[in-house]
């Protein structure tokens, strides 16, 4: 087993777990984005770092490492967005329903002959 697998697999599982419990938590999403920003900055600033870290973890190239981590990060963010979307749909439903109930029309009674 390569070191990278030891890292990626728990990361994937932790990602799933964290988001499952805090799917729409503002802070978790922000932490992930900040982390990605910092990591991206570091990698651009010192490109050799990715190669060294990659070799240490057993990944062929630095760019491969960036690919793996980048993909994970994106998957996580997409998942959070999707969760937000569902929540908004629920709110929209509630609003629409409230409007329908407020504007409800009683049957117009036809005069009995």
């Amino acid at each position: 087993m390569k070191a990278i697998q030891f890292i990626l697999i728990p990361l994937v599982l932790v990602t799933m777990l964290v988001y499952l419990t805090h799917a729409r938590s503002r802070i978790v999403g922000r932490i992930v984005v900040i982390f990605i920003g910092l990591a991206a900055t570091a990698m651009v600033w010192m490109p050799e770092i990715t190669q060294r870290v990659a070799e240490y973890l057993g990944v062929g190239r630095g760019t491969d490492l960036i690919l793996y981590l980048g993909f994970l990060g994106l998957a996580f963010i997409c998942s959070m967005l999707f969760s937000q979307l569902r929540h908004q749909e629920m709110q929209l439903t509630g609003l629409t329903r409230a409007i329908a109930l407020i504007e409800a029309k009683n049957p117009s009674v036809s005069p009995e002959t």
């Binding site: 999707f82 329903r97 409007i99 029309k105």
Partner: protein, 234 residues
């Protein structure tokens, strides 16, 4: 002078969710009105002439400003009916597939206290099998299997829009699936809430119109995915 049975029927609220059914909605509603039920039309954001057509009829009329789906329309209708003091709530399709006279057999077990939820089934009587075209029958048998997997409840007809709920059942059920997954969601809730449910035979009438509006094969997958997502994302 109102007869006692008129009063009883007015406490039966028939909810008809409707989306762009201007061609058939009036024909569907008239027999229900004549039968003396309280008819609740929930217009799910129709863009056709449904509002003006229904406006001329003696029904309760609610309108979603945007289209949400049949499940959402039903829940809105249920909320409304409960507010208006409904004792029994019936769900009834707008396209004319259901027979108004079947409502009587639907509400009977509730009136007798034998069940909280009564579900119509097209497949309880062997002779009635032929009502349903073969292709659709196969599709529906598949739906039954899927339904068992998803809800753990066996029904002879898993996708029949004709149902009756007692007031207590309606108060406890909360449909969160806006689109077609509501049919399975209602069974899941019935099982979790341990509501007594029973199936009664009902007939279905297919016209060329309603046949063309039937559920597509792919909808089954949509429903399964919807329910799976519901479990994940809650």
């Amino acid at each position: 002078m109102k007869r006692p049975q008129d009063l009883d029927r007015k406490s039966v609220f028939v909810i008809v969710p409707s989306y762009n059914e201007q061609k058939v909605i009036a024909a569907t509603l008239k027999p229900l009105i004549e039968a003396g039920y309280s008819v609740v039309v929930v217009d799910d954001g129709s863009s056709d002439r449904t509002p003006s057509i229904v406006g001329r009829l003696t029904v309760h009329y609610l309108r979603h400003p945007i289209n949400l789906g049949q499940g959402a329309a039903l829940q809105t209708g249920i909320d409304y009916a409960l507010r208006k003091g409904a004792e029994i709530i019936v769900t009834f399709d707008a396209d004319g597939q259901h027979r108004p006279q079947d409502i009587l057999s639907l509400i009977e077990p509730i009136q007798k206290g034998e069940a909280d939820v009564v579900l119509g089934s097209r497949f309880l009587r062997y002779e009635h099998k032929k009502d349903v075209p073969l292709g659709k029958r196969i599709l529906l048998k598949g739906a039954i299997l899927v339904n068992i997997l998803l809800t753990g409840v066996w029904l002879s007809d898993a996708h029949n829009g004709l149902r009756a709920l007692s007031r207590q059942a309606a108060e406890q059920i909360r449909l969160r699936e806006n689109r077609y997954a509501h049919a399975s969601e209602i069974m899941i809730q019935i099982r979790n809430l341990k509501l007594k449910h029973v199936e009664v035979p009902t007939r279905v009438r297919y016209s060329n119109y309603s046949k063309s509006k039937g559920q597509s094969f792919w909808n089954a997958f949509n429903i399964m995915i919807d329910l799976l997502l519901r479990r994940i994302y809650k």
